[in-house]
């Protein structure tokens, strides 16, 4: 039944993706890139869900459901975030987070 690719490989890919996402989230100043980074983080989690479901509970579908759930949340989140980003762009003609600091003072 095992196709030969061990669980660790999945986890390594997911971890790499997760930290790429975190790195991008923390370092980028472009809102679109930050949004893309969050998508990476979410997808790395999806990989984990599916991999664990596949290896630990092969007969069950809980992991799949969670994966679908995350995809749905990610899609709506992307829609909302992009709407906000478009509004910010109209307001500031920029999507650099450092320019968006009017509420700070």
């Amino acid at each position: 039944m095992n196709s030969g690719i061990p669980l660790e490989y999945y986890l390594i890919v997911a971890t790499i993706m997760f930290f790429i996402g975190v790195y991008g989230f923390l370092t980028r100043r472009n809102l679109i890139t930050i949004l893309m980074s969050t998508e990476l983080i979410l997808n790395s989690v999806n990989i984990n869900f599916l991999a664990f479901n596949r290896f630990l509970f092969p007969g069950k579908l809980d992991g799949h459901f969670f994966g679908l759930f995350v995809i749905a949340v990610a899609a709506s989140e992307a829609a909302v975030a992009i709407a906000i980003i478009i509004n910010i762009y109209r307001r500031f003609t920029s999507i650099n987070v450092e320019n968006v600091n009017e509420l700070k003072y």
Binding site: V22, F25, L26, T27, V97, E98, N101, K104
Partner: protein
Amino acid sequence: MADFGYTVWILIVPFVTFIVLGLFGMKLKARISGLTGTLGLAIVTVLSYATAFRYFLGAGLADGIYQKIIAFNSTWLTLTDRLHIDMGVLLDPISVMMLVVISTVSFMVHIYSLGYMKGEKGFERYYSFLSLFTFSMMGLVVATNIFQMYIFWELVGISSYLLIGFYYSRPSAVAASKKAFIVTRFADMGFLIGILILSFTTKTFDFVTLTDLNGPAITSTGGAVFLGMSVMTWSMILIFVGGAGKSAMFPLHIWLPDAMEGPTPVSALIHAATMVVAGVYLVARMFPVYYFAAPEALQIIAWVGAFSSLFAAVIATTQTDIKRVLAYSTISQIGYMIFSLGVSGYGGPEGLGFMASNWHLFNHAMFKALLFLGAGSVIHAVHSNYMTEMGGLRKHLPITNITFLIACLTIAGLFPLSGFFSKDEILTAAFHHDKVLFAIEYLVAGLTAFYMFRLYFSIFHGHDRQYDHTPHESPATMTVPLIILAIGSVFSGLLPFNRLVTSDGAPFESHIEWSVAGPSLIIALTGIAIAWVMYRKENTLPDRLASTFKHSYKWAYNKFYIDELYLFITKKIIFRRISQPVAWFDRHIVDGTMNGIAWVTQTVSNRIKGLQSGQLQQYGFVFVTGAVALVLFFIYLIK
């Protein structure tokens, strides 16, 4: 009982003119604002006279005794059920008499100032302050309770301060106003403590209750004793300290001569006729309490008054600034009044001193205001305060000359001018009380005549000096008040004070006691004669006398160094020994602690405020780093 409710307008009218002139005076023409103030005072004067006529001619009488009438009263501040501070109008012989005195002198000063202050910067401010003063002084004399009196007492203090410092660009005026305020304020602290003790003992502020012969103040003998005197005596002494400060009694007299820095009409109104007699009025107001509950305090009052009158008279003989001579003369005359209260008894002919004191107060207000206004007229003409720069002015200032002469004769106590009658009654009262005090006052009567005529001869007679420009008589706005006040000085001696203003309200018979009055006339004439010899024609006699009695002359000329003594005590002892260490402690220990706390807070927050940048990504970085660190910690270090 007749309705005297309208008397409240005596207070409201000047207050309204004060507000109007104070707020809108800048927008009015100077002349209009002056006339507004004068018109307000005219209304007050009419009301006061109407009140006095109605009160003395029947409305105040009941069973042959002048009653205390509460014309208006409203509770202002309730402390307890029995102890409350009211604002009201109390009419009795002395307050009605004071209404007449204040309104007359104030009205004269208002008219006079139209001429004297013409063209001065701040003319409307001057009139607004005058209105404030009149309001406060009226409120003081009609006070129904001692606390209302205290409030208005402070108000006259502040108006005096404002008016002394009227020429605020002159440093000496500013210093004088501060001095007057601080000295009187210091004395008022005694007054306030006295009020508190008195109200604590008697549980009332009300004058009618306090002076009631069966009231708590007089019947509550005994009680606690402190340093050999009862608490009542102490409180009455402390109250008198306040009165002595306002009335410039020794040793709190130092502010009055300096207060002459103010405009001359102000000196006439505040520092001669009205405010400075507030102390006399206070003692007269509380007289039954003094007489029955605190006879020791009355003894002190008599001695303070007698000593002040002698002390000030001696200084007055050596001063050369005419306003200062008049200031010391004022102290001396107020000393007379205070002394007269001190030797008075209560009820009927026993209360001769009380009656004489109020009579003298009335006469003194007239002739001393006249003297000051006359001096103002002279200063206006010559532009100098020093009598050494004057002489022979009788040709240039005929009206001022005659009115001034009348005032000098009045204060010297020559028959039949008003000063003669009141001074004679005072001396008679003293004669029956204490022979030593009597002798002092006799001496003062001679000194008074001497220094007043020294002043008169130096200004109006003597060598005719060369002036920069020929002095000319003052305008009618200034001479008319002089004439009116001169008439008042001459005839106020004919008022039947023994029927009107007495210690218990009941009239009594008194007559001139020639065995006392005769010698007092002689001593006054002697004083005038000596002044005539020394100053009528310019000669070297005064200088020779001064050099013969070099040391005593120098002491008197320098006012017995009382000012220097005060300066020594305040600067060398209080400032250096007490204030400076306290200031050091405050600046270094108290402030240091506070500043230290603030410094620590500021430094720490400066260091850590970078953490809160508002950058979400920075927070995220910290969070992730922390999470990773925790994970590594739990995985590898804790097995």
